[in-house]
C-alpha cells in the first residue's frame, strides 16, 4: 500500500496524462456516425502503429553482436512499419470511397 502510494506520487504526471487521454479518446469519437465505424477503426489501427518507435529504439540500441536483439528488432521494425503504412493507406482507400458524399448530414461540429 505504502509503495503503491509512492508510486502514484512519483508518476502522478504520467497518470494524469493517461487519464486525460482516456477522456479525450472517448469524447473525440463520441458522435461518430455508424457508416464511419470501419474507417475509424482502421485509422485508429494505424495510429497504434506508433509502437514502431519502440521498435526503432530497440533496433538502434542493439549491440552489433547481439543477434537476438538485431533479428527481433529488425522484425519488429518491419511489422511496425506494416502496421503504420498499411493502416494509413488502407484507411485512405476506404475513405476515398466516400468521396462522392454530398456535404455532411451532420452539422459541422463546433470547437476543433
Amino acid at each position: 500500500m505504502e509503495s503503491f502510494l509512492n508510486w502514484i506520487t512519483a508518476n502522478q504526471q504520467i497518470i494524469y496524462i493517461v487519464i486525460l487521454m482516456i477522456f479525450v479518446g472517448i469524447e473525440v469519437i463520441g458522435h461518430v456516425p455508424s457508416v464511419l465505424h470501419t474507417p475509424l477503426m482502421s485509422g485508429a489501427n494505424a495510429i497504434h502503429g506508433v509502437v514502431i518507435i519502440g521498435a526503432i529504439i530497440v533496433m538502434g540500441k542493439a549491440e552489433h553482436d547481439n543477434y537476438l536483439a538485431l533479428i527481433l528488432g529488425f522484425l519488429a521494425v518491419v511489422l511496425g512499419t506494416l502496421n503504420v503504412v498499411g493502416g494509413f493507406v488502407v484507411t485512405d482507400r476506404m475513405l476515398e470511397m466516400f468521396k462522392k458524399k454530398k456535404p455532411p448530414q451532420t452539422p459541422p461540429k463546433e470547437g476543433l
Binding site: I17, V18, M21, V24, G25, I26, V28, I29, V32, S34, V35, H37, T38, P39, L40, M41, G43, A44, N45, A46, I47, H48, G49, V50, V51, I52, I53, G54, I56, I57, V58, M59, G60, K61, A62, L68, A69, L72, G73, L75, A76, V78, L79, T81, L82, N83, V85, G86, G87, F88, V89, V90, D92, R93, E96, F98, K101, P108, K109, L112
Partner: protein, 475 residues
C-alpha cells in the same frame, strides 16, 4: 530537445486526426493529418533520439531496411486488397502491431536478464527494475493476445479458419487467463531464478489465449472483435511508451485504447447487442444458425420465376434494391450495378436502400457498391428509404435478411427486437433473392418471406442477377 516537440506534434495530430476521422466531411483529411504526425514522430526518433547517456541510435542500415521492406509490403497489400477484404487487412495490420509490441518486450526482457549459466536457469535482473519488468510483461501479454487473436480473425474473415468451439471453452479461457496472470505476478514479484523460462511460457500461453479467445466467436462478429483487439494493441503500444518514457507512444496508445474500446461498444450498439453477448457468442456462432430456428414456422411461401421478375421490374416506375450480406458473398455488386443501369435506360427509377448494419461491417454496403461505381446519390440511408417505400412499386432484396425482418418490430422475444429495420412491406411488391429458406446472421426465421406481398427468387445472387439482365434485355 526538438524531439520532444516532434512527439508533442505527433500526439496532437493523433487527437486531431481521430477527431476529424469521426466526421464524414473531414475524415479523409484526418487520416492524412495523423499520418503526417506519425511521420514526424518516426523521423524525429531516428535522427534525434538519444539515450540517457546521450548516445544516438546506430544500426541505421537495419532500421531503414526494415522500414523500406515494411513500407513497400504494406503499401502494396493495402493498395491491392479488394474493397470487400478490407476488414481482413485491418485485422492483419493490427496483428502486426501487436507482434511488434510483443517482440519489443522480448528484446527488452533479454536486456534485463543476464544468463549466467547456459540454459534457462539463473536469470536475475536488478530489483529496482521491477516496474520495468511489469510493463515489459504486460506489453508481452497484450501484444501476443492481440497478434494471435488478429490472425485468427483474419483467417476467419478470409475463410481459411472455421468457427470452432467446444463445451466449456469459456471456462478454459478464463483458467488460461488466470494462469497467465499468475505466472506474470510470480515472475515480477518473486524474480525466480528461471525467469527466462517463465517469460517464454507466458509468451506461448498468451498466444494460445489469443487463439482461444477469438476461436468461438462467430465469423460474422469479427469486425467487433477486430475493433476490440485494436484497442488491445493500443494499450500494448502504451506499455512501450511507459517503458521508454516516450510520450508519443504513450498518448497514441492510450488514445487508441480508449477510442477503440468506445468504438467497439458503439459497433455492438448499432447491431443492438452488448459486447458481452458478442464475446460469449450467445448468437451468431454458425453452429447455432442451422438449429431450431429453421423449424419454427414453416408457413407457405410463393416463388416467382425469372421471367416474371423481369417483366415486373421493367414495367415498374420505381424500384428499390435492398442489398445485404448475400450480395457481398456472391460478389454480385457489378451485376447489380448493371441491372440498375439497364432499368434506368428503360425509364425505371432505381435506388438502393442501405441499412446501417447490412453486411458484416459498418458501411459494408457503401463500400461494396462504391466498388462497382454505383453513384453515391442513389444510396438512401435507412430513414430516407423508409420514407420512399410507400411510393415504390418493386423492392428487390438481394441477400439481405435480418435487416428486413419484421420480428425486430413485432416480436419482443426475438434477439433482434428493437433494431430499426427497412420497412419494405410499405411497397407494392417485394421480391427476395437468396439461395434457400435458411436464416441469416441472427439465426432466426423471417416472417417477411411468408407474407402475401412477398415472392421468393431462389439462387446465388450473382447468377440470378446475370440471368435477370439477360431476360430483361430479351423482353
Amino acid at each position: 530537445m526538438i524531439l520532444t516537440i516532434c512527439y508533442l506534434i505527433g500526439s496532437v495530430t493523433f487527437i486531431l486526426g481521430l477527431k476529424m476521422l469521426s466526421n464524414p466531411a473531414t475524415a479523409r483529411k484526418g487520416n492524412l493529418v495523423a499520418a503526417a504526425g506519425m511521420t514526424i514522430a518516426i523521423i524525429g526518433t531516428i535522427f534525434l533520439y538519444t539515450d540517457e547517456a546521450g548516445n544516438k541510435l546506430h544500426n541505421y542500415g537495419w532500421i531503414f531496411g526494415g522500414i523500406a521492406i515494411g513500407a513497400i509490403i504494406g503499401t502494396l497489400a493495402a493498395k491491392k486488397v479488394k474493397m470487400t477484404a478490407m476488414p481482413e487487412m485491418v485485422s492483419m495490420f493490427n496483428g502486426m502491431g501487436g507482434a511488434c509490441a510483443a517482440l519489443i518486450s522480448v528484446v527488452e526482457f533479454n536486456h534485463l536478464a543476464f544468463s549466467v549459466t547456459p540454459g534457462w536457469h539463473t536469470i536475475l535482473y536488478p530489483p529496482e527494475m521491477i516496474g520495468h519488468v511489469l510493463i515489459i510483461i504486460l506489453g508481452l501479454i497484450i501484444g501476443s493476445v492481440s497478434f494471435a487473436g488478429s490472425m485468427i480473425a483474419w483467417g476467419k474473415l478470409n475463410g481459411s479458419v472455421k468457427d470452432f468451439s467446444f463445451k466449456g471453452q469459456h471456462i478454459v479461457n478464463i483458467l488460461l487467463l488466470l494462469v497467465i496472470l499468475g505466472l506474470a505476478v510470480y515472475l515480477v514479484g518473486w524474480m525466480p531464478a528461471n525467469s527466462q523460462l517463465i517469460f517464454y511460457v507466458i509468451f506461448a500461453l498468451s498466444l494460445l489465449y489469443g487463439v482461444f479467445f477469438v476461436f468461438p466467436i462467430g465469423g460474422a462478429d469479427m469486425p467487433v472483435v477486430i475493433s476490440l483487439l485494436n484497442s488491445f494493441t493500443g494499450v500494448a503500444a502504451a506499455c512501450g511508451g511507459f517503458l521508454y518514457d516516450n510520450k508519443v507512444m504513450l498518448t497514441g496508445g492510450i488514445l487508441v485504447g480508449a477510442a477503440g474500446t468506445l468504438l467497439t461498444i458503439l459497433m455492438c450498439k448499432a447491431m443492438n447487442r452488448s459486447l458481452l453477448n458478442v464475446l460469449i457468442g450467445s448468437f451468431g456462432g454458425s453452429a447455432k444458425t442451422g438449429g431450431p430456428a429453421g423449424a419454427k414456422q414453416q408457413g407457405a411461401y410463393k416463388e416467382i420465376s425469372l421471367s416474371d421478375t423481369a417483366v415486373v421490374m421493367s414495367y415498374a416506375n420505381k424500384v428499390m434494391i435492398v442489398p445485404g450480406y448475400g450480395l457481398a458473398v456472391a460478389q454480385a455488386q457489378h451485376a447489380c450495378h448493371e441491372l440498375e443501369k439497364l432499368l434506368a435506360e428503360k425509364g425505371v427509377e432505381v435506388k438502393y436502400a442501405i441499412h446501417p448494419v447490412a453486411g458484416r461491417m459498418p458501411g459494408h454496403m457503401n463500400v461494396l457498391l462504391a466498388e462497382a461505381d454505383v453513384s453515391y446519390e442513389k444510396l438512401l440511408e435507412m430513414e430516407h428509404a423508409n420514407e420512399e417505400f410507400p411510393t415504390t412499386d418493386v423492392v428487390l432484396i438481394l441477400g439481405a435478411n435480418d435487416v428486413v425482418n419484421p420480428a425486430a418490430k413485432t416480436d419482443p422475444a426475438s434477439p433482434i427486437y428493437g433494431m430499426p429495420i427497412l420497412d419494405v412491406e410499405l411497397a407494392k411488391t417485394v421480391i427476395v433473392n437468396k439461395r434457400s429458406m435458411k436464416p441469416g446472421y441472427a439465426g432466426i426465421e423471417n416472417d417477411l418471406f411468408f407474407r402475401p406481398k412477398t415472392s421468393m427468387l431462389f439462387g446465388d445472387a450473382k447468377k440470378v442477377l446475370q440471368d435477370l439482365i439477360g431476360e430483361i434485355k430479351n423482353l
